[in-house]
Symmetry: none
Subunit: 420 residues, 2 copies
């Protein structure tokens, strides 16, 4: 029997238009653990509403995870309200205060008096250290009611390490969920419906042992499609075997359009190839405005292979920095196959790298024409043996277009490097 | 007195990793109406859990908005479970069935038997026509408990027109919400607790007419702090006047650390100044890896002032592309004040722009030392009359650091341009 798990998200901003990404994080992580949540509740920074919600949630839950409201300011009420609901005292922790003070010393600024509030724990709570920010998390076991309560801070960079280091291992030990494995195949360069059509016959022919349960999902974000499979069963060995069968068949159906699994990214896959083969890359961007280089440099260690990125937004910069000829720009226009080709060759030559990647297109909202509409993009990749160019037409607003174009460019780079 | 409004999102996928964008939609729409929701609850397609949640929500709420679970398949349970909880019958509606059948005729495919389920209304419910899909919405008044229940379909393209045509006008008529105005002041370059400390005396001395209610919020995302004020009162004129007083006093307290309001961004504010004064900018990035240029180019029309961005990740690229001297790099190291200064001067000279912005730092996870730890960054801005440099020490993972460093750089640029 699965435990009843609830997640509470605390913060008025989450009820007045701010996107809640924590629910995606916990949904994925807890489902992968084999312990999906039963309810997720968002409540504003309001003492009375929070109190009522806490009380009801504790009554229903085996596990209650609260995020947010641990900050130093007046509207951060989680610890205080939870202590009231549980009729427990707040206990000042000098050791925690010293850590908070230390954090301000490192930053070279005096600690505001408000931050003292973050040095209080609910009676009997175990602190979870915060390696990024000031507020510690708190873990609290209510033995009589049998509820485990976790209080975690709102910012993802603080909350996720705490959940992964302290909370999830504890849940796994305590509830021993059924063996669960899941796999996400990441696909680029295809629309969602086309991916769905190609996997459907495979999905319907999976030979599933009767003791196992399987769940499929397909999710599009910008130009990447995720195909997700989750399998539960009595033994880790048996579910892993089923997953291998599915992985093999799905990969057969989707071929080189699959660029990776689970947390893989296009920039990570292309970067890993460059690092492994000791090759170097330089990037010349126009419409994507630095986004491709930004994504490539998100990968730790990318300084070994990414030597240079340049955003040549103006024609003059394309001439001076990349050696694109004024004649090509005049004859074909900046958004054209010959200019993409010349930009890739130019950045490779000037930065003296093994590979050059270029993008030129129209991100809008203005600057489009009938012949060259907003969303049109040319991508060039050149290397020691081969130069390739691609043409795509995307739709969306300016930021969507930049994302789709950058994803397409990184996928073209991957296909060029891997020869697929 | 505001009505207690709750929103229920129904669908197992929303608890296992699918992003819920409806909560953003309702949050924005209802807050703008002056009727912000008190709670938002996500529940899976499970009969028992849904039943319990419905019952409790009806008890608490003046208005209960449910989305999802109106589809034709076995796991669409909203109408059935709600009827059970309310102890009401389901009534077959031949007119609705005819509309559903008509939709399939238009698409040229036979209606699956499953879709008959969508032609049932809860006793006494008013249907809301669906112009896009098959499931009608349902509106139900519970006079004894004083609760208004709205059942809406899950897909945004079906749900949003129903909410806008049937639900929101009804809420406005019924609850005559008070006039509502809100303002967000956006602050950069300060920790959240310091901002809080500076606005506290102002907040506590606001001269508020007794007929008005005020709400404050403060929210940190990476290096930007949002101070939000919402005022409700009987007349649009009076709340607007209070807002002006608060805006003036908060701006006095926070000074030039406020870079804008509501949807303003640092890149937008700096860009608007450049566009207005017909000045140009080029950017030389190291550790931020293109993120600054990406953010600057998110602004439509940025091609008028942003002539070039370059990511000089390697020392050689700093020498060749920016003219930073080998001697400086050897004497001070790439992450140093003199190199930040030389990079800013170099990009300004080579790109022939009015202003040059540079960033050099350590984004980690490796590459730090005791003297120059991960998170250290130098920022340089140079223009026709003045060169300025800044030093910051941030903490966080690689992507957090890139974001904080880029935000700091854009704020330094803003302060340099505006002379504040």
């Amino acid at each position: 029997m699965n435990p009843h798990i609830e997640i509470l998200f605390i913060g008025t901003e989450l009820l007045t238009g701010k996107l809640n990404t924590h629910i995606v994080y916990f949904g994925e992580q807890l489902a992968a653990l084999g312990l999906p949540p039963a309810l997720a509740i968002t409540v504003g920074d309001d003492r009375a509403t929070m109190g009522g919600v806490f009380q009801e949630a504790i009554r229903r839950s085996d596990v209650l995870i609260c995020t947010g409201g641990l900050g130093p300011t007046f509207d951060d009420l989680t610890v205080e309200v939870m202590a009231q609901v549980l009729k427990r005292r707040l206990v000042f922790q000098p050791a925690i205060l010293r850590k908070i003070q230390q954090r301000f010393v490192t930053r070279g600024i005096p600690m505001p008096e408000e931050n003292r509030r973050q040095a209080y724990l609910i009676e009997d709570a175990t602190p979870i250290p915060n390696r990024v920010g000031t507020a510690p998390g708190q873990l609290l076991d209510l033995p009589r009611r049998g509820t485990l309560i976790a209080l975690l801070p709102g910012p993802s960079s603080e909350m996720e390490p705490m959940a992964e280091q302290a909370l999830f291992p504890l849940l796994r030990r305590r509830f021993r969920p059924p063996a669960t494995v899941s796999l996400t195949l990441r696909v680029a360069g295809q629309p969602e419906s086309a991916v769905d059509e190609r996997i459907q016959p495979v999905r319907e022919a999976i030979p599933l042992p009767r003791t196992q349960a399987i769940q499929f999902g397909i999710l599009a974000h910008h130009a990447v499609i995720d195909v997700k499979v989750t399998i539960q069963g009595p033994s880790p060995h048996s579910v892993a075997r089923t997953l291998q069968v599915i992985r093999r068949r799905f990969r057969q159906a989707l071929g080189a359009d699959v660029f990776g699994e689970d947390g893989d990214t296009l920039e990570g896959v292309a970067g890993a190839w460059l690092a492994k083969h000791h090759k170097t890359l330089a990037v010349a961007e126009s419409c994507t405005g630095g986004l491709i280089t930004h994504r490539l440099t998100n990968i730790p260690g990318s300084s070994r292979y990414l030597l240079e990125g340049i955003v040549t937004y103006s024609n003059r910069s394309k001439e001076r920095r990349l050696g694109v000829s004024r004649r090509s720009l005049a004859a074909w226009g900046a958004v054209s196959e010959p200019v993409a080709r010349a930009m890739a060759a130019g950045i490779r030559r000037r930065a003296q790298t093994d590979y050059g990647l270029s993008v030129t297109g129209i991100a809008g909202p203005t600057g489009g024409s009938q012949a060259k509409p907003v969303g049109l993009v040319y991508i060039g990749v050149t290397g020691p043996r081969l130069t390739q160019t691609w043409r795509f037409q995307f739709s969306g607003n300016r930021e969507d277009l930049k994302t789709r174009m950058a994803t397409a460019a990184l996928d073209c780079l991957r296909r060029h490097l891997l020869g697929v």
